[in-house]
């Protein structure tokens, strides 16, 4: 089981309120991602759940039990840290076995579970090495191995991929998702990378300045962002925002349109502008269009073969059905 409920929790460091009163429900077996810009309180929130920090007020319950004052060791959670936090003086085997040793399991049982986890994570050949002799990806696997042998009620991941290079990151992302598929254990994952959030999550929690901006599935957030912040944060490249006369035509203070929802043409379209930088990804091309009279830059996505050049004047047609409208406070008008 791994059902976690946060009820009106707050956190202050001295006079600074890092987390204003916050409610959140995490269901058993869910893959929940906390995402937001740095300093938004997502890591603090994770540490509050882990018990590495005290909440200033409010109640944290795990599987229906009040865990607010339970020390981290007793919460039945496992955590994977950004720096991996492996024990440098222990072999990989001993690292993975450490939680079992703390739980008082006998040696044979420890070995059995470690071997099992090592087989799953492709670490069998490295069990006698020290963490210092491993590559970044291998260290990451050891950290995960140390977490899974505990059979925790939930896994906590604190930006676990940010120290890996881009190629490894994609691979590890898949591995963690597969792990979740297999274990079906609750996972809470903190990241600042919205791509990780979109690709891995069952449920995304978007945070800004300690506040939950929106909770929902990746597609929900993509399709129906509650406000401009979420709209801008989810999706890549970012949504285009247009204010002024064009927005008023739609009865809004501002409108947002994603780059993939604008069609480009040499001749037709209500909007026009001059092509600046174009990014060719092969499958797609992103054009950054200037002098539109709408916003500084409008980013549009086109097919890989579309070949406008720098300085070309082009025309654009937004798809009316996916235009997002926002009022003066940045909230979505439905």
């Amino acid at each position: 089981m791994g059902q976690i409920t946060l009820n009106q929790i707050t956190k202050r460091f001295g006079d600074v309120e890092v987390i204003p009163p916050l409610d959140l429900e995490i269901n058993d077996g869910e893959f929940v991602v906390f995402v937001g810009p740095s300093g938004c309180g997502k890591s603090t929130l994770l540490r509050l759940i882990a018990g590495l920090e005290d909440v200033t007020s409010g109640v944290i319950s795990i599987d229906g039990q009040d865990a607010t004052t339970v020390p981290p060791a007793k919460r039945g959670l496992a955590m994977v840290f950004q720096s991996y936090a492996l024990y440098p003086h222990m072999s990989v085997r001993k690292n993975i076995a450490f939680p079992l040793r703390m739980a008082g399991l006998d040696k044979a049982e420890q070995d059995r579970k470690v071997d099992q986890a090592a087989a799953v994570l492709n670490l069998t050949d490295y069990l006698d090495r020290r963490p210092g002799q491993l590559s970044g990806g291998q260290r990451q696997r050891v950290a995960i191995g140390r977490a899974i042998v505990r059979e925790p009620s939930a896994f906590l991941f604190d930006e676990p991929l940010s120290n890996l290079d881009a190629a490894l990151r994609v691979g590890m992302r898949l591995e963690i998702s597969e792990l979740h598929e297999r274990l079906k254990t609750t996972m809470i994952y903190v990241t600042h990378d919205q791509v990780e959030a979109m690709t891995m999550a069952d449920k995304i929690v978007v945070l800004r300045a300690g506040n939950i901006e929106q909770v929902g599935s990746p597609l929900e957030l993509y399709k129906n962002p509650r406000n401009r912040f979420v709209a801008g944060f989810i999706g890549s490249p970012k949504m285009n925002f247009i204010e002024g006369a064009e927005a008023q035509k739609h009865g809004a203070h501002a409108i947002g349109i994603r780059p993939e929802h604008i069609e480009v043409s040499e001749t037709d379209g209500p909007w026009s502008g001059v092509v600046g930088v174009s990014e060719h990804l092969g499958s797609d091309t992103f054009f950054h269009v200037h002098e539109t009279g709408l916003a500084d830059t409008i980013t549009v996505r086109a097919g890989g073969e579309v070949g406008f050049r720098h300085g070309d004047r082009i025309h654009m047609t937004p798809r009316e059905d996916v235009i997002h409208k926002f009022n003066e406070n940045g909230l979505r008008i439905s």
Binding site: K74, F98, R146, R150
Partner: protein
């Protein structure tokens, strides 16, 4: 090296530095040499440098006459005991300061260091009569406690600086893995800090071994360590150069060797981290 240096310049540096180095080291060298002479050779005029009849006789005489090993044991027990005791008390304190810092941590640390600067002579009499009252005068236990107390600030300080270099996340990981405070310190922090603890140990052995105020004033015969043993040679009738040298060599040799291993820690420990 930023650039090549002419060989001539390097030779000059070498010559100059070696001459000065040997000059500074000479009193120690001379003591060691003299310890292998006979008493007559030790005061011969002109002095003999290398060409004399090397003998180990002085070492035997010193041992036999003054029971050198008893003083040696006292030194080992007092220096070792005070250091071990100090480290046992300082590890938890340094853990607190390094990993659970509060607004007052810095003040407490500075206050601890400032107690190190209390002039011993200012509290000589109170300690003296307290020792008499408690039956600690001229006991190893008493000296062990005093030397532990005077060096405790440096031990806490050094351990604190070493602990600060250990990432807190690793200790948090241990906590998440189900380790209690005891396991966290015993299985994770201490093994990781072994090099730092060893350096602290080394420097404090040296400081305690060479301490020469309390060891002279709080001991008579029973618990006197080597500092006091050597001081007993200061009376005029003790004027036997070769034997004095043998005794001195035996007293400084172990610490001289340890000292060479601890140059770096010396800077760190004795400047309280103000010079890096």
């Amino acid at each position: 090296m930023a650039r090549a240096v002419t060989t001539r310049r390097k030779a000059f540096n070498t010559l100059l530095a070696w001459s000065i180095g040997l000059l500074i080291f000479f009193p120690i060298l001379w003591t060691i040499l003299t310890s292998f002479k006979t008493e007559a050779q030790a005061i011969s005029d002109p002095p003999l440098f290398l060409f004399f009849d090397w003998t180990l006789e002085n070492y035997a005489v010193v041992q036999e006459r003054s029971d050198y090993t008893r003083f040696l044991w006292n030194s080992i027990i007092i220096a070792g005991g005070s250091t071990v005791l100090g480290i046992l008390i300082a590890v938890p304190a340094a853990w607190s300061m390094a990993f659970v810092p509060s607004k007052r941590t810095k003040d407490i640390l500075l206050w601890m260091l400032s107690t190190k600067m209390l002039p011993a002579v200012g509290v000589l009499y109170p300690i003296y009569i307290l020792f008499i009252e408690l039956g600690l005068l001229d006991t190893r236990l008493g000296l062990t406690i005093v030397l532990m107390l005077i060096n405790l600030p440096i031990i806490v300080w050094m351990l604190y600086t070493y602990f600060k270099e250990i990432p807190g996340e690793i200790l948090e990981a241990a906590r998440m893995d189900g380790a209690g405070l005891k396991e966290e310190i015993l299985f994770i922090l201490t093994p990781m800090a072994i090099p730092g603890i060893a350096s602290t140990f080394l420097l404090n052995i040296i400081l305690a071994w060479n301490e020469a105020f309390w060891t002279l004033n709080l001991t008579a015969a029973k618990a006197a360590p080597l500092t006091a043993f050597i001081a007993s040679y200061s009376s005029p009738e003790g004027l036997f150069y070769a034997k004095l040298s043998a005794a001195a060599t035996m007293a400084i040799a172990p610490i001289l060797i340890l000292g060479w291993f601890s140059q770096k820690q010396l800077v760190r420990g004795l400047t309280f981290g103000a010079v890096k």
